[in-house]
């Protein structure tokens, strides 16, 4: 019953997610019209945002499984680092699809280590996560030095170039092939017609569906699959019960320890897959430090998304979009800031209708602040832009921490048979 209610709630959230996304695009369009740029809703921006969002999404989903089972995982970064190294190694030896499998196994191995420390030995979860991050970095560097060090193109800090995963155009919508025949590019046709909002929506959709990577499709499919798995199956209910109240779960016959082990290993595998994406789709090579804190941003997406799959997805998109702006011109960044300002002012007005004076004042003034920033600043420096995901996470936490709800026993110390 609980599972059903939660599932329905989660579906409601999915609808809300779509509505908010549509509204977001509308605001972006308006901002574009005002500033006279077009790149904000172009397929290339959308495509880049998607590509940058996927590793964050996978890391965030990794965090979701672990924390839903009650194990805080700040070792995501280390598991992702393992994923990058093993993915490159697998692809180098056997081919790209093996790369994904190796990356996931590498991440899962560090997940196992984290589970061993936190579940079996009851080490503090944060401490273990920090240790995992340090260990993964060192271990991968060691592995590079003994495997890639003497290869052509390889060194202690990078692998030779490896084969990546292919892209596809989706048929009918973005002009992809099906059974060897080409299909019309419907979205591309819409996009070329400069119709207000419609063409912008089509442009973004075209960016998502034209030359999509297979791995992207798989990663996106994991989101609804996780909703189903965690909220619609008995196994999912058991997993979540370990994160909410392991003692009660134990009394109902759930094997809490095994559940936590499985969850943390899934977590590592997903983070490892995020690392594999970086190697096999974005870079085509392993480089030390290529994760650049994305595991931590994934953690941010998890919090931003209130420990829900579609929430993680929206967090990953927000951060991926912010990241993609770094590679666009300063105009695009400015029109994005204008869009943020408009969005905040609208949220402020909405708060008036709810009679929430405090929130009106805060949201409204932040929105006006962004407007002033928009009018005064002609270009936002890249160094500051790279801080946006972290700033957004802090802001969301500071503003909504009362309304975010993490699993009740997340990070709690659990010893089997200790319940009273």
């Amino acid at each position: 019953m609980t599972a059903l209610v939660a599932g329905a709630k989660s579906l409601g959230r999915a609808r809300l997610f779509v509505l908010l996304a549509l509204a977001g695009v509308l605001i972006l369009t308006i901002a574009q019209v005002i500033t006279g740029t077009e790149d904000l809703t172009s397929p290339s921006t959308a495509g880049a945002a998607l590509r940058l969002a996927i590793p964050i999404l996978l890391a965030g989903l990794g965090g979701l499984y672990s924390e839903r089972a009650g194990v805080v995982n700040i070792g995501l970064e280390g598991m992702m680092i393992a994923g990058t190294w093993f993915a490159a190694w697998g692809s180098w030896l056997y081919g790209p699809w093996y790369g994904i499998a190796f990356g996931m196994l590498g991440g899962a191995a560090f997940g196992l280590l984290h589970a061993l420390a936190t579940v079996t030995f009851n080490v503090d979860h944060i401490v273990s996560g920090v240790a995992i991050n340090i260990l993964a970095f060192g271990a991968m560097r060691f592995l590079s030095s003994i495997s890639y060090g003497s290869e052509t193109g390889g060194s202690v800090v990078q692998s030779p170039t490896v084969q990546g995963i292919d892209n596809v155009d989706l048929p009918f919508l973005a002009g992809g092939n099906i059974l060897g025949r080409s299909t019309p590019d419907f979205l591309g046709w819409l996009e070329t017609h400069d119709w207000f909002y419609v063409s912008d929506l089509a442009g973004i959709a075209r960016g998502f569906m034209g030359s999509v990577n297979w791995m992207t499709i798989i990663a996106l499919a994991i989101v609804p699959a996780s909703v189903w798995l965690l909220w619609r199956t008995a196994w999912g209910l058991r997993l979540r019960s370990c994160g909410e109240d392991p003692w009660a779960a134990e009394s109902l016959g759930v094997s809490v320890l095994r559940m936590k082990y499985v969850a943390v290993m899934i977590s590592g595998a997903l983070a490892g897959m995020g690392g594999a994406f970086l190697v096999l789709v974005q870079a085509g090579i392993y480089r030390e430090g290529m994760t650049a804190g994305r595991g931590f941003i994934g953690l941010g997406a998890l919090i931003f998304g209130n420990w829900l799959p579609f929430g993680v997805l929206s967090g990953a998109f927000v951060f991926g979009f912010g990241d993609s702006l770094r590679f666009r011109g300063p105009d695009v960044v400015r029109s994005f800031i204008l869009a943020v300002a408009i969005g905040l002012v609208i949220a402020g007005v909405y708060a008036i209708s709810r009679n929430n004076v405090r929130r009106t004042v805060i949201t409204g003034s932040v929105g006006v602040g962004f407007l002033v920033f928009y009018m005064l600043v002609s270009a936002v420096p890249n160094q500051l832009l790279s801080a946006t995901p972290y700033l957004i996470t802090l802001f969301v936490l500071a503003a909504f921490s009362q309304r975010l709800r993490m699993p009740a026993a997340d990070g709690a110390r659990y010893v089997k048979g200790e319940a009273h």
């Binding site: 401490v127 920090v130 340090i134 060691f142 804190g293 931590f296 801080a387 996470t393 936490l397 921490s401």
Partner: protein, 373 residues
Amino acid sequence: MKGGKLLTTVVAPLIALVISFAIASLVLLLVDIDPFFAYSEMWKFGTTTESLISMINRAIPLFVSALAVAVGFKMGLFNIGVEGAYLLAALVAAWVGALFSVTPVLHVSIILVVAMIVGAAWNGIAGWLKVKRGVHEVISTIMLNFIGFSLSAYLFLNFFQEDTGSLITATNLIPETGWIPSLNPVLGWFGVEPRAGSELHGFLVVAVFLGIFYYYLVSRSRFGYDLRASGVNASAAHASGINPKRMIMTTMLISGAIAGLVGMSTLLGFTHRYVQDFPSGFGFAGIAVALLGRNNPVGIAFGALLFGFMERSSLILDLKDVPREIVTIFQGVVVLAVVIVYEIVSRYAQRRAVAAAARATAEQENDREVVAI
């Protein structure tokens, strides 16, 4: 009780070290390298005068960083944000220090105070967010680290960087009055004459004082009592009149102020300016050292020296065809091993204490029965 304490503070780290050496040896054996050859080469190279000086120099920032982390740990606060705080503090302190020149001691003090203020302010944000908005400090300090990296890169490239006339991007050179002199003359009194270019950083003196200050603060002061009480049982501490919010805020500020000093031995003793590749990573390594030293200043000093020794002595391995990265594996393993072993040992000590108490009670009962008869 005494035995239990000895077990957890001394025996646990020792077992962890043995395990870590065993694992590192195993890894070396797997890639066909004789571990004893590697260790003996490291020992030979690591115990020369120059290496020992380098070891201490490398240990200083780790020691300071670990103290910053440990202050938080004592009350159950995780300050992961030392990394961002010390880089930002080093940049601002380098910039301020290069603006003027006064008498040496005063100049150095001003630079140190600036660094402490910046560090405290930066980590204070996390304290404020926790106290006022209920944001967990682990997440906020992780985010603040990255924001700190971006902010310092931005400030450095746009405002603080000066034309040095060469290819290195750096801030202006701090005038010589703002330098901390090396301790080589002191070494000379003891007849130690290191080769040219090998200098023992004078900041060592500050670090030692910081260690003593930490000891008195945590173990001998009212604040330290409150700190430890809050760490052991927050609600009991609250009930006994300790204001938890104020404790969190104060602890974060102290931790941040110490964190601000992490980069100072490098800045004032070596580079004398903030350079683009200013050494990073001390903040994260400091967490490892604090865990290794069990938040005890002497333990932390040992941990920092061990890490310093490993890093210095591993330099020889490249010449001997042994992957130097074995040291980073060792450091990672030792942290995980120490926390796991500590957990097991303290459980064992607890069981022993419970058993001893049970025995004592049983004996008392027996005595009473005898009297009754």
